[in-house]
């Protein structure tokens, strides 16, 4: 049995895809996107958020921390301040725009860190099984025995605020989802014929993992990440609202709401606009994520 016959079932589908796809990939996704109004809406929202996040400092009409006490608590549509000013006379629109980049950085970095750690541990657990699997999955159970937001909050309160620590808190609480999903994917992949035939023909372990397993994990990981980003952005806003997370005077949507809530009787705009920013961003990411899931992984549709 030196010869391995190449049939549909024992060829890595990821390699097949590469051969077929080539240049038309971007065009394919764009065409798919045009068919889905909600996916398109999500995509457009993400583009706008990305733009504001990256070029925010050029777009924003004012310095977000420029306080003019003479102009404090101006309502929306006042001269020069489209969305009004806060209790210190800072321009709300400018602070919102600057808050975008904070949310984006935290959301995307946390997804990368949590995704990397979770995927690595998930692959190890799923591929090697045995006692390594047991240890990792017990760890996952332990982390999952705490409500996500509570864990993020406590960890952040303990290790301290600041961008790096916020990302770390989200990642410590968030990696388990990746580990779980990846592990079950790997368990399923292991049984597939193209992996079995690799093992049978003596391909080294690390090569099987890196060349054959990991590429097939991209789809579930991308789908999961697109939805996790929204969770992380909302979580960051929540802990910032509670007084941890991003600290004032640095503008973030969560701490803007936190400061604004003291003026709920007099200035409704302070609690309105940052919330809308969070909802629109999370909605955009979710819509895009749902669309992505439907396109990349039709089997998951509707779950």
């Amino acid at each position: 049995m030196n010869q391995t016959t190449v049939t549909e079932s024992n060829v890595n589908p990821q390699l097949l895809k590469k051969r077929k796809a080539g240049s038309g990939k971007a065009g394919f996704y764009l065409r798919q996107l045009k068919k889905s109004p909600s996916g398109m809406a999500g995509f457009v929202i993400i583009l706008i958020v990305l733009f504001l996040g990256i070029f925010g400092s050029w777009v924003a009409p004012y310095d977000p921390n420029l306080a003019e006490l003479s102009k404090k608590l101006l309502p929306p549509m006042s001269e020069g301040h489209l969305l009004g000013t806060d209790q210190l006379g800072r321009d709300i629109l400018s602070r919102l725009i600057h808050g975008t980049s904070v949310s984006l950085i935290i959301g995307s970095c946390a997804v990368v860190v949590a995704g990397a750690v979770g995927t690595t541990l998930g692959v190890i657990a799923g591929y090697f099984r045995g006692w390594v699997d047991t240890i990792i999955m017990r760890l996952v159970d332990v982390v999952l025995s705490f409500p996500f937001i509570l864990l993020v909050l406590v960890i952040n309160a303990v290790i301290g605020t600041g961008l790096k620590n916020i990302i770390l808190s989200l990642a410590i609480a968030g990696w388990v989802i990746y580990a779980r999903v990846v592990r079950s994917e790997v368990l399923a992949l292991r049984e597939k014929e193209f992996i079995v035939s690799c093992v049978a023909t003596g391909v080294p372990r690390w090569e099987i993992i890196l060349k054959h397993i990991v590429p097939n994990l991209f789809t579930p990981i991308i789908v999961l990440s697109s939805l996790q980003i929204a969770t992380y952005i909302i979580a960051e806003a929540s802990i910032s609202f509670l007084g941890f997370g991003v600290q004032p005077p640095q503008p973030a949507w969560g701490n803007m709401l936190s400061e604004g809530k003291d003026y709920i009787f007099s200035a409704w705009w302070l609690i309105t606009f940052p919330g809308i920013a969070i909802v629109v961003t999370a909605l955009g990411v979710n819509l895009f994520g749902d669309w992505l899931r439907d396109v990349l992984d039709p089997e998951l549709k509707g779950n």
Partner: protein, 305 residues
């Protein structure tokens, strides 16, 4: 069934033991809190003395063993602020949090399941599409912001309801609604997709062929098949609900566990934090355990295995 029960019990105990360990190490990561309790210019000797009194000068493993032995017996130490027993302080707040969480849970199931069933039955109609749109929106809505908006509308503008505080049904309305919103979205979405699955099954066709009216198929026959997966989701979402309660309690000044935890975190009152966080993990794990057993009970296929 007994084997399953024993296995699950051992599993829960192991996880709780590890959770307790995790709580200890997370809190110890922050160093010792003594500096916070003494004036900044306090002499070194006084600081040392204080550390010694609290036991922070000993090696970590000694502290860990002591913590675990005490914690297993329900002793998390005394609150650094009030000097009262930490676990007791936390337990006193449990009823308020349960009131909030379970009202929200009941509310969300009451709203979500009929919506989900109707959406599935009237698939792709305006009703269904509106429902789906709301569930998508609901999942993007942070609870603390929804809380603020509800306060603004119902308490500040209309003055119908109090802005916060606890003690009566009236105080419970807004926080429970706020907390329920997210779960309503998730449950409705899930009920819809599960119901759609069930309605395609052969046994539903059999029921129709026996002349059973559609309303009865939806509300009795297909509902029981749909409820089984929903129970699992509810168990999973209880964690989200308990976590969400922490935030909602702060927004509405609801005198529950979450608000206590937040204050203790800000005050670095670690015995109370440890007791509180562990208690939530404990409750969550126990509920999950109960639901697993319940799940085995309602699903005859598992029960007899």
């Amino acid at each position: 069934m007994l084997d399953y029960l024993i296995k699950r019990t051992v599993q829960v105990l192991v996880v709780l033991f590890l959770a307790l360990t995790t709580v200890f190490f997370i809190i110890r990561l922050s160093g010792d809190p003594t500096a916070l309790f003494l004036p900044p210019d306090a002499p070194r000797e006084q600081l040392e003395e204080f550390r010694k009194a609290l036991g922070f000068d000993r090696p970590l493993y000694v502290q860990y063993t002591e913590f675990m032995t005490n914690a297993v017996q329900g002793d998390f130490g005394n609150s650094l602020r009030t000097r009262e027993d930490a676990l007791q302080t936390v337990l006193n707040r449990i009823p308020a949090t349960f009131q909030l969480a379970f009202t929200a849970l009941g509310l969300s199931l009451l709203i979500a399941i009929p919506i989900g069933i109707n959406s599935a039955y009237k698939r792709n109609t305006l009703f269904d599409q509106t429902g789906v749109a709301f569930t998508v929106l609901g999942q993007a809505l942070p609870s603390f912001w929804l809380g603020l908006i509800l306060i603004y509308v119902f308490a500040v503008q209309f003055k119908w309801l109090p802005t916060g505080g606890g003690g009566s049904m009236i105080h419970l309305i807004l926080p429970a609604l706020t907390l329920a919103a997210y779960s309503v979205a998730r449950f409705a979405r899930f009920t819809r997709s599960t119901m759609l699955d069930v309605l395609r099954k052969d046994y539903i066709r059999t029921a129709k062929a026996s002349g059973i009216p559609m309303y009865k198929i939806l509300s009795v026959y297909a509902l029981k098949n749909t409820l089984i997966p929903i129970i699992t989701l509810v168990a999973l979402d209880l964690g989200v609900l308990l976590g969400g309660a922490v935030i909602v309690e702060v927004v509405f000044a609801w005198p529950g566990l979450g608000r206590l935890l937040m204050q203790s975190l800000l005050n670095r009152d670690f015995p109370v934090v440890m007791a509180g966080v562990f208690l939530i993990a404990f409750i969550y794990s126990v509920i999950n355990f109960v639901v697993d057993v319940l799940y085995a009970y309602v699903n005859p296929q598992i029960r007899y295995k």
